[in-house]
């Protein structure tokens, strides 16, 4: 226990003691898991900068507000719809699932008929042993106290199951809306199960509406990929001032499965902390992780990724890029583990930062831990500025300095947005990059205007 967020910590203990009543329908194993997870959290409290994984990300200032745990949604439907429209991806034929403060809102959603793609709220299925055994299955709660806290206290979220051999007809767009008039602490929990040889694509968008009150989201998403399954996952994180997001994503991969992730974090939100952890536990499996973060003044974006090679013949690729302006702060920590039996592993990791602001700060910590000898692993990290030659090239062709810089930033970001296989989504992501010119020069026209 430490003295970070003491009031909130006390509140958590009170809530946990009372939560038993609302969890009566859950399986015994889950009840046990919740207890264990809470014990871990209770013992050590919220993470502090003394924890190696939180060294550069101080949660303390974000835990001071008097958060409430169960806040009823009080926003007008029209306001929600307007917000929802802003997240729409043009020309993308996809199902839509809307969650407001972590709970499914069916009236705003557009879902397929119940069938081989099963979508429901997580609460509904927690009574089933078949499903609840996947909760926290591959999660190391000791190392992730916030994820443990979520495990102990989560109420609801979404559950998706793609049956064996199924290829989902259309991709799914999951929209997380958050709204708060009073400081709120939301802990959504999601579970996605992919059966053998199934295929699924989904995109998560976050947006925040109404109120100025701080919102702290402590979310956990678990994805379980059985043999040969193929999961594509896009994330677009956008919020408002006062919003703090800690997102823990745990992916477990069996033999010959593939996981693709593209995460774009846009400015505005106070804090974004992404913890993406992939366990490659079957030979022939591969994962590809791409990220782009664009923190603005006073904002902190922290990406912690872990790729754990547990079996031989696996491959992982990772590329994270960041553009920092003003007094933005970014943290990147990428861990690659290669276990002793994981021979013939190929693991690559790269982190590039464009540091533009005078007061901006980057902490980059790529990390390799290798216990097998027949492997090819590498990582690289750079922190730098615009290439003066590229700038000169553009300016020599009559492009003003500000626009030239903007172009270079977009080219830098395109490395990530181009990884998206869906054209519509790729366009959508690029549009967001354009909407927020990273060089923050107001009179800079966008590329389209040239």
């Amino acid at each position: 226990m430490n003295n970070v967020g003491t009031a909130l910590y006390e509140e958590m203990i009170r809530t946990f003691d009372m939560s038993g009543a609302s969890h009566t329908k859950e399986t015994a194993s889950l009840a046990h898991l919740r207890k264990e997870a809470f014990r871990t959290f209770k013992e050590k409290g919220f993470p502090t900068i003394k924890d190696e994984d939180w060294r550069f990300t101080n949660m303390a200032p974000y835990l001071k507000d008097a958060y409430q745990l169960q806040v009823p949604v009080k926003v007008e439907a029209t306001a929600l719809e307007a917000l929802l429209d802003s997240t729409a991806v043009e020309e993308w034929d996809a199902w839509k699932l809307v969650l407001v403060n972590g709970q499914i809102d069916y009236s705003l959603s557009d879902l397929p008929e119940a069938g081989l793609l099963k979508i429901s709220s997580l609460k509904e299925v927690l009574g089933s042993e078949e499903v609840s055994k996947f909760i926290g299955l591959h999660q190391n709660t000791d190392a992730n106290r916030l994820a443990a806290l979520n495990t102990a206290l989560f109420e609801d979220g979404l559950f998706i199951e793609v049956a064996k051999g199924q290829k989902a007809e259309k991709p799914l767009h999951i929209v997380h809306l958050y709204t708060a008039d009073v400081p709120s602490f939301v802990q959504p929990r999601h579970l996605i199960l992919l059966g053998r040889l199934s295929e699924f694509t989904f995109m998560e968008s976050t947006a925040c509406v109404g109120g100025e009150a701080p919102v702290l989201v402590n979310g956990v998403l678990e994805c379980n990929l059985e043999e040969g399954a193929n999961l594509t996952h896009y994330v677009l994180q956008r919020g408002r001032r006062g919003e703090r997001m800690v997102q823990h994503t745990q992916v477990y991969q069996a033999r010959d499965s593939r996981y693709d992730n593209v995460t774009i974090s846009l400015p505005e939100t106070d804090l974004i902390r992404n913890q993406l952890q992939v366990a490659l536990d079957g030979s022939g499996s591969e994962c590809h992780l791409y990220g782009l973060y664009l923190p603005s003044a006073g904002q902190l974006i922290d990406n912690h990724t872990v790729v754990d090679h547990l079996q031989p013949h696996c491959e992982s690729n990772e590329l994270y890029k960041g553009v920092l302006q003003n007094s933005a702060k970014a943290v990147f920590n990428g861990k690659i583990f290669v276990r002793q039996i994981a021979q013939k592993t190929n693991a690559f990791q790269q982190n590039n930062n464009l540091l533009l602001g005078d007061k901006a700060l980057v902490h980059s910590k790529p990390q390799l831990e290798i216990f097998a000898d027949d492997v090819k692993c590498s990582h690289g990290s750079t922190i730098g500025q615009f290439n003066p030659e590229s700038l000169f090239y553009l300016r020599a062709r009559g492009i003003g300095e500000a626009l030239a810089k903007e172009l270079l930033v977009q080219a830098f970001g395109a490395d990530i947005t181009d990884r998206v296989s869906s054209d519509a989504v790729s366009r959508h992501l690029k549009k967001h990059l354009l909407e927020r010119p990273v060089t923050q020069l107001q009179d800079v026209p966008h590329i389209e205007h040239i």
Binding site: L355, P366, L368, D373, D374, I383
Partner: protein
């Protein structure tokens, strides 16, 4: 092929430590245990002035207060500070005028080490300050250096003869509160080397220290202080060996380098402490704090290390780039085999503008060795146009070893550039095949490849040392085929 490999690997693992002999010399050893009295005892033995005793006591207090570090990437062995002796000195502590007066046993020891003083006398250009368990025994070439105004003596002597310099710089780079082992060292250090190069002087020869831990249960806490005044240059070599013992011995040294305006210091280490036997029994814990401060503009500090010994090596030779336009370098080859552990790397703190640093680290793990590179590159807010390049490569030989990389990169300046790259791989089969095909047997081929792999670092060593390091590398890794 694989069977052959196994045999070779086993041979490698069982490779005996060449320098594991004990020299029987009459020693004066402090009683076991660590307390304030121990600190006073050492200070009194050395006849130190009161300011130094106070400084030591302050350090000892800091040591008591600081907890054992727990962030390292290995299981920290229990160290019983009470069961070690903190001072050991050869009984015949006379000042030698010539080598003839030196205890023949001692000379024989150095003969075995291959750094015979007699030979050194003939070989041009190396002045040796020999630290035999904690006390500096003799310094060669003193006269010649003296004529140039260079001070090269034991730290104990420097305290007596040049207190103003020692007082000004001792602990200025590594403060007593820096870390647990640095605090312990400051409290109980027994001796070490002191170098002062006056303004504008280019030291004509390589200065060298040879450390050897001889007595059992004796931690070696030496302290080296090198000051290069404006426009001067010095190259300093350090080598280490220890006899074979079943118990672990702690070696917690501190090295401080200070480079003033336009000065350059080159510090090279070939560390070959006893690594323990094949089951990991015994061996030296080499927990050393090394740091240099590029205090003046245009100064330069370069660390080169070849680490092949010790059961645990734990050190991060660092450079504080305080002066504008100063530069820091770090070249390292770390070899772990058997059950050896190395957690080593560097720190580059860029404070002044236009500062530059370069880090080349080559790790080689064989047997059950664990090799970690841990580094910090820090670009301060005022480090305009600062530049860093880091490359750390790991080579794995056998499937029981591990290689780890923990770089910390931090930038607060929008004109600074930092580059880091790391790779991990094994010896390429195509490379081996190429050499085999040309009639070079596998063992020689591996030695050739390893030497090529480490060349970038070995090239930084002074000539005499480079040859020795190269030999050491091929001996250490003899018969290791991936």
């Amino acid at each position: 092929m694989s069977n052959e490999n196994d045999i070779l690997l086993e041979e490698l693992a069982n490779k005996e430590y060449e320098f594991g002999f004990v020299t029987d010399i009459d020693m004066e050893i402090a009683p076991l245990g660590l307390s304030e009295d121990t600190v006073r005892y050492i200070s009194a033995k050395k006849g130190e002035p009161s300011w130094l005793l106070e400084w030591r006591l302050k350090a000892y207090q800091a040591f008591l207060k600081s907890p054992m570090p727990s962030w390292q990437n290995f299981v920290m062995p229990e160290i019983d500070f009470q069961s070690a002796s903190y001072y050991a000195a050869p009984r015949q502590q006379a000042k030698y005028q010539s080598l003839d007066e030196v205890d023949p046993e001692l000379l024989a020891t150095f003969d075995k080490l291959g750094i015979s003083l007699n030979e050194q006398k003939l070989l041009a250009g190396v002045a040796v300050d020999v630290i035999f368990d904690s006390v500096s025994v003799t310094t060669t070439y003193k006269k010649q250096l003296h004529d140039l105004g260079i001070i090269f003596c034991s730290l104990g002597e420097a305290v007596q003869e040049h207190p103003e310099l020692v007082k000004k710089y001792l602990g200025s780079v590594v403060p007593v509160t820096d870390n647990t082992f640095a605090a312990l060292n400051a409290g109980v250090f027994s001796d070490g080397s002191f170098v002062y190069i006056p303004k504008g002087v280019r030291c004509p020869m390589e200065l060298s220290t040879y450390f050897r831990i001889n007595a059992e249960n004796n931690g070696q806490f030496e302290r080296t202080l090198i000051i290069a005044d404006e426009g001067s240059y010095v190259s300093y070599l350090e080598g280490c060996t220890a006899p074979k013992r079943d118990t672990n011995q702690l070696h917690a040294a501190v090295v401080e380098l200070i480079a003033l305006d336009n000065a350059e210091i080159k510090y090279s280490t070939v560390q070959n402490w006893y690594p323990g036997d094949k089951d990991g029994r015994g061996g030296i814990y080499n927990f050393v704090t090394k740091r240099g401060n590029c205090k003046g503009p245009h100064s330069k500090i370069s660390w080169t290390q070849v680490e092949t010994g010790s059961s645990i090596t734990w050190k991060y030779p660092s450079v504080i780039l305080q002066g504008d336009y100063s530069s820091g370098e770090f070249y390292s080859v770390a070899v772990t085999k058997g059950k050896q552990i190395a957690d080593t790397g560097t720190k580059m703190h860029h404070i002044g503008k236009e500062t530059k640093s370069r880090i080349i680290s080559k790790g080689i793990s064989a047997g059950e060795g664990q090799n970690s590179y841990r580094g910090l590159v820090q670009m301060g807010a005022k480090a305009n146009n600062a530049r860093n390049f880091t490359q750390c490569d790991s080579l794995l030989i056998g499937d029981q070893c591990g290689a780890h990389t923990f770089p910390y990169i931090e930038s607060r300046n929008s004109s600074a550039m930092v580059e880091h790259e790391a790779t991990t791989s094994k010896i390429g089969e195509d490379q081996l095949f190429y050499l085999n095909q040309r009639g070079i047997d596998t063992e020689k081929a591996v030695a050739l490849i390893i030497n090529g792999y480490a060349k970038e670092v070995l090239n930084q060593l002074p000539m005499e040392f480079a040859v020795e390091a190269q030999k050491l590398l091929s001996i250490t890794l003899e018969g290791s085929v991936g």
